[in-house]
């Protein structure tokens, strides 16, 4: 394709396959080797670039997605020969050791400061939690971002670099001839149907955070790809009477930025807060999460307790399915060929319900769930449980609901004894598997134990529905 975009402030037209990974385009074809690759699977952040000013992982983006966009790589951050204040701060605070994570860190921090000029240390730590640094232990990086005061004089420019930036770009030479797989980005639904008709075996994708990982591992090898990101109607979030409609292409970060979601659906917001990393939340979508239908998919348990349903549409019409009917097993959905997920419909939860989501993973960010619990509890006047919905993730082939446990809890008082009493039954009812992350016994035990947290969380939050999503992680007291 002829790709038109702006790279580091220069409008360019580049002859490149739409299927080429952005990181390869930048490094190999354009010589912009400041963008690093540490994993190729979204797990390290070394490949971070800015697309229209927002951080993106270039290993999980195809060149075709760059059409019309403004791309900034580390080479283009400083507009003059002087360092950008963040770069200067990284240097002054000793935040650079081997330097391989540095470009990604600096760009991630640029994005953060752009949105939030004075973040505190825990906000900074959260913002860079999708960027692995193996050398520094992060402290000096956090220092550098905290004190990246715009007014401090930048330190002296580097001793003449081996090649100047301009020369580097001109050295560019496409070295690869790609087995070309067409990639389409329809801009209207009609165009989408025509493309699907013409390429019935094409694979859909949206954020690509699952699909590009599978392509790299050659787990899938579709003849064509159709990206849904430019379909405006998949991006809307709207309250419609007694429900909220979320377009399938809405990213997790967009959801978290929307007060309708954080105020009305805290249980979903809490889950999204802990999904992947900031980059993954930027790129990944709710539709992709549902269609991937992983037992560990973090939006599934909250959407289940919220009684969400999905709106599926094809050239022939549309239908609405409950979440249970939509997801039939690990990685399998009721989606038919030619059909897409258009939106998720979430009925408004009872106004004073208590929302809670907890995920147990092997670390505090970039953690695939080992067990998770979403809970939605309504209290009666006397403080007993009027209604309770519980959904577990990662302890069965798909979301686990236990109606008999919910029934047993109704009418009981909201204290630890109540939940402790149902633990054995929960144990019995769960059927997790063992995998490389955890054994089945552990999963079962932890999944049940998570219930014991509920009384504590309930007492901590007198007005849970107002709880800003941002404090959720903190209140979990994970360091």
């Amino acid at each position: 394709m002829k790709l038109s975009c702006s790279i580091n402030g220069v409008a360019r037209t580049i002859d490149v396959s739409a299927n080429r990974r952005t990181v390869d385009l930048l490094r190999e074809d354009l010589g912009l080797t400041g963008t690093k690759e540490g994993c190729g699977t979204g797990e390290c952040g070394a490949c971070t670039i800015l697309v229209d000013g927002r951080s993106r992982l270039s290993c999980l983006m195809l060149a075709g997605q760059l059409e019309g966009r403004r791309i900034t790589t580390i080479e283009g951050l400083a507009e003059t020969e002087q360092l950008h204040p963040l770069q200067s701060s990284f240097v002054r605070h000793g935040a650079v050791q081997c330097g391989f994570c540095t470009p990604g860190m600096v760009l991630t921090a640029t994005d953060l400061l752009d949105q939030q000029p004075h973040p505190d240390r825990s906000e900074i730590a959260r913002a860079i939690s999708g960027n692995i640094c193996r050398c520094t232990g992060y402290q000096k990086i956090i220092d550098a971002i905290e004190y990246a005061d715009n007014h401090s004089p930048p330190v002296a420019a580097a001793p003449t670099p081996a090649q100047s930036r301009q020369q580097r770009v001109e050295q560019a030479h496409p070295t690869q001839t790609i087995t070309d797989r067409p990639v389409f980005f329809p801009e209207s639904i009609d165009q989408l149907w025509r493309l699907i008709a013409a390429h019935p075996d094409a694979r859909l994708f949206c954020g690509g955070t699952d699909l590009l990982v599978w392509l790299r591992a050659r787990r899938v090898d579709p003849p064509a790809l159709i990206g849904l990101e430019r379909l405006d109607e998949l991006h809307t979030i709207a309250a419609t009477g007694d429900a909220i409609r979320i377009g399938a292409a809405t990213s997790h970060a967009e959801l978290l930025a929307n007060p309708l979601i954080t105020e009305t659906l805290p249980v979903l917001a809490q889950a999204l807060q802990q999904l992947g990393s900031p980059h993954i939340r930027r790129m990944g979508t709710i539709g992709g999460n549902l269609v991937t239908a992983s037992p560990a998919g973090d939006t599934l348990p909250p959407l289940s307790v919220l009684d969400a349903s999905v709106d599926l549409v094809s050239a022939d019409g549309s239908r609405i399915l409950s979440l249970t009917d939509f997801i039939s097993g690990p990685g399998t959905t009721a989606l038919l060929p030619g059909e897409i997920l258009r939106s998720v419909i979430v009925p408004l939860p009872p106004p004073k319900a208590f929302h809670h989501f907890e995920k147990v993973g092997l670390r505090s960010a970039l953690a695939c769930s080992v067990a998770s619990l979403a809970a939605l509890i309504e209290r009666a006047q006397d403080g007993t449980i009027r209604q309770v919905r519980l959904a577990w993730g990662s302890v069965g082939p798909t979301v686990t609901r236990l109606p008999e446990i919910e029934a047993a809890l109704r009418g009981e008082s909201l204290n630890e004894t109540t939940f402790a009493a149902v633990l054995p039954a929960v144990h019995q009812a769960l059927s997790p598997i063992s995998d490389v992350r955890a054994g089945a016994d552990y999963r079962r035990q932890v999944a049940a134990n998570l219930l014991l947290r509920l009384p504590e969380m309930l007492s901590e939050s007198s007005a849970p529905a107002q709880r800003p999503a941002d404090t959720v992680a903190a209140s979990r007291r994970l360091a």
């Binding site: 391989f100 420019a157 360091a479």
Partner: protein, 771 residues
Amino acid sequence: MTDNDRTVAIGESMIRPDALTKVRGEERFAVDHYPSGLLWAGVKRAGIPHGHLLSVVTDEAAKIPGVCAVLTAADINGTNRQGVIRKDQPVLVDERIRHCGDPVALVVAETQEILAVALEQIRFEVEPLEPVFDPCAALRSDAPLLHPDHPDGNALFTAHITVGAGENGFADCAEMVEGEFDLPRQAHAFLETENGWARADNDGRVEITVSTQTPFRDRSEVAEALGLSVDRVRIIAPYCGGAFGGKDGITVQSLLALAALHCPGRPVKMWWRREESFLAGVKRHPARLLYRLGADRSGTLAALSVEAWFDTGPYDHLGGVVAALGIEHAGGPYRIPHVDLKTRAVYTNNPVSGAFRGFGVPQVAAAMESMMDLLARRLQLCPLELRRRNALVRGDHCPAGSTRQGSIGLTACLDRLATHPLWTTREQWRAAAGPHRSHGTGIAAVAHGMGYGPLVPDTATAAIELLPDGRFSVQAGVVDMGQGNAATYLQMAADILNQPPDRLLLILPDTDRTFPCGSSSASRTTFTYANALIPAARKLRELLLARASEMMLVQDHREMLLVPGAVRHLPSGRDIELARLGSLLSRDERFVSHHYRAPAARETPSDNSNLRLHGFPHLIFSHAVHLARVEVDELTGRVSVAAYLSISDCGRIINPVVFSGQQEGAVAQGIGYALCEDVLVDRGQIRTADLATYILPTSLDVPPLETLAVSLSEHDGPFGLKGAGEIGIDAPAPALANAVEDACSIRLTRFPLTAERVLGALTERNNPRRS
């Protein structure tokens, strides 16, 4: 004087010059080279843990358009063996496959896509052999042998050290504690995976640019393995995107050279994907350790017995040396009169183990420092008090029997800890735990020896030159893998020459342009090189002052002083520009080199010459005491680190920011080692071969780290420094295990302390009958 003319002094946090290029994305790592006409090389790996390789079928792959070469062991003219002490690792498997990552064939192709297709087309025939995965099982007489030619079977290296009455020392002990420990296989997980590129000219000389810690040793290894004379090989070693020991030794070098020699004139690149890095790269040695520690009632240590097994995988790599350093440190930094230490590095069909920051010490420190807390509990003594009572001081015999002659700041570290708020408020911390949580505090004390030991010469040759333009160039043949040693060299030279750092250029390691300086490892990098550089810089200073005084017709060159950019005659205030001096002098007159050999222990506490060859004993030790504050979530078993403190004795601090950066980075890696990092291997197959399943700490998993130093000066150290790169990783595992026991009375001896293990132990604690 402009800001740029500011000079730096020792002890100041000088800005690292490499940070300036790295932060702009302009520093070119090995992986950043894509010369035009590039070919891609890749390796077909065995996929099975043990077998005879009968044949390799390459025809199908070779026929694919765009495939330039398909090579096997038959194409190698040299020894086809690599290794540091025992050369037992083939470049390409000739006869026997010994682990799943063993390379069977090498393919060179025009593009990465063609390469991938071609690799899939390669077939090979094997006769499977019985594999062995457990190091103890591998030592049994009926175990299958990995190297039938090795006289000691699967026992790559064994050593036995007895001090005092050895085992008999336990007879008089009033108290004794025992423990059995398992330490995991840790991956370096540097962000820049193993890679390089090479080009051979038509005369068969090959240039390899590679991410390595050991350019000069690589040169000899490549030459020998491929049957080239050493002058046919040039290694260029840019800054590494992380290494930590994982690039100490050959990764892609020989394969690249072989590929390049078969495609002369064309640049050939090899870049292991993350998964291949897990499969074929080295890891920290998993270890099993049996400990017994005895003391009298007052808590004076009396006897220690240690049995250690280090799983070296199928090749030596540096397994023997790791086992030797481990056993030398097995008794920690304490006085123990009666000691019996047994260590072995054992061949297995697991992935290859190799050098990793800490080099055998994190394993034994995890055990020994856990034992100290076990003993303290038994004696109802404060853990800090027990350590103080037994801390080594200068002139003591260490547990392995050698005399500690260098500076020892251990007691100073312990004293500093005793008054630190994180220690004095530990009861408040314990009481602050919320529901279903418990809080605890743990400490650990460690020593870490520096250098290669008594036999292998620990040397470096530094060179420094005044350039015709008035700047200086410092040639350092030792790699900076990110730790900042290169900047430290410039800082020292800048201090001696009284120049601002940007008037100094660093020449990075290149076997054609710099002198051999040994490896970037063993906490010796800065110590040894700087000891060569300082005299060189001083000599050059004297030389320039003398020449300048002659040119200015001054009698006494002591009236002259180097100032930024010039030599100044003090009585008259007249300057002669360095650029003028540089252009007037011939290169021989403005170039100085100096060779240094680090002092080595003269003592021979063991008559085992093989143990000496493997580095025992060391002479100079750094020390540290660490403290960890944890919270244990009793519902999930998750351990989170709330605060962390390290207090170190690494001699004088040259650059405080570089120093604390080393400690912080090592502690973060140590937290990973203690809590979550483990390369899981099932019958030789790695199950955690990517960064989704191999769990590295993120910014949210590392707590605020406080880094303190007790700044003693080490007599032999350049400007008084000692090694600082490794010691920070020795103490986190035991400090955390001790903190977990302090929090919730469970003692875990199998690392990492995963939530699953912690919850299991908590369940047992609550239902003791089940155990």
